[in-house]
């Protein structure tokens, strides 16, 4: 039956118990971040990369672009390497899945904030 103040007991109970709050930017305990989180895009194994452009083709949001290898990069067979425009990335993980040689990875880093779109290109 509906009546006034039904939740009073629950209120007092939660006032006595531990808060659900995680004091986040200062501690991560209690956030339950799973290890296989789909986080920041990483060009993990440049040595394996052949520059085959599959990742560029499957990306649903054109986030991955193949650029010519810069002098400081590992030179791939085709001379191209992927970079990620992270402002468009959906973190879907299709590139990781489609990559035949395990070059890419979505790390478990999720703390991302940028002040300019130029900073958001991941090499």
């Amino acid at each position: 039956m509906p009546s006034l103040g039904k939740m009073e007991r629950e209120l007092l109970k939660s006032a006595r118990s531990k808060q659900a709050t995680v004091i986040y930017p200062f501690t991560k305990e209690g956030l339950n971040v799973p290890p296989d989180l789909r986080g920041k895009w990483v060009y993990k194994n440049p040595n394996n990369c052949t520059g085959c452009k599959i990742c560029e083709r499957v990306c649903p949001s054109d986030a991955i672009e193949m650029i010519e290898c810069r002098p400081e990069d590992v030179q791939t067979r085709t001379g191209f390497r992927p970079i990620c425009h992270f402002d468009r990335c959906l973190l879907c993980g299709q590139c990781v899945e489609s990559c035949p040689r395990d070059v890419l990875e979505l790390s478990d880093e999720f703390e991302m904030a940028y002040l300019s779109r130029d900073d958001m290109v991941i090499y």
Partner: protein, 186 residues
């Protein structure tokens, strides 16, 4: 898609499709004046009927179905561009028989008009407005025709979902931005 024939994948007359074929056969009998039997079929996917009807007879068909079968759930209305014709598909679902039934009608592109069923099925109000907006298929007799859906500055005679719609103002390229717009343009 030019040849619509190849999409028709009728189900074999097997036990699995017994109920579907029972309903299909009786409908083809009863609606013989309205339906085009050569393009109507039972789909291989279970519980799906596709029935092609003449565009002017949609009201009669729906009225008949409402009276006879208590057909009340209109799932949706989808439009399609077939090249010469525009197609409207009314998807209904029979809750008693648990069969989804699609009435399709082809309308010539030059005069894309057919009777509206909104007064029979109130649920069609929004979808019929929408198909008029996106395909230029006009349900004649719609009680509340509204300028709907697209932005206010959208021209009247452009229907973005038609296959031959070209992007006259470069709208699709516009969104492919790589950096912020300069301050003075905001």
């Amino acid at each position: 898609m030019s040849d619509a024939e190849s999409e028709i994948r009728p189900a074999p007359r097997e036990d699995q499709y017994k109920e579907e074929y029972a309903l299909f056969d009786s409908l083809m009998d009863e609606l013989s004046d309205y339906a085009i039997s050569s393009e109507s079929y039972v789909h291989k996917q279970p519980r799906r009927l596709f029935i092609q009807i003449k565009p002017e007879s949609i009201r009669d068909v729906v009225q008949y179905m409402l009276d006879t079968y208590d057909l009340w759930q209109l799932s949706t209305l989808s439009g399609r561009d077939l090249g010469d014709d525009l197609q409207a598909c009314y998807h209904f679902f029979f809750n008693d028989k648990k069969i989804a039934i699609t009435f399709r009608l082809n309308v010539p592109r030059e005069k894309p008009e057919y009777p509206s069923i909104t007064d029979l099925v109130p649920a069609a109000e929004f979808v019929e407005n929408e198909i008029r907006e996106l395909y230029g298929l006009v349900p004649v007799g719609h009680p509340k025709p509204r300028r709907c859906e697209l932005p206010e500055n959208w021209p009247d005679n452009e229907f973005p979902l038609r296959k031959d719609w070209e992007d006259p103002r470069g709208l699709m390229e516009r969104s492919k931005t790589t950096g912020p717009k300069p301050k003075e343009e905001l």
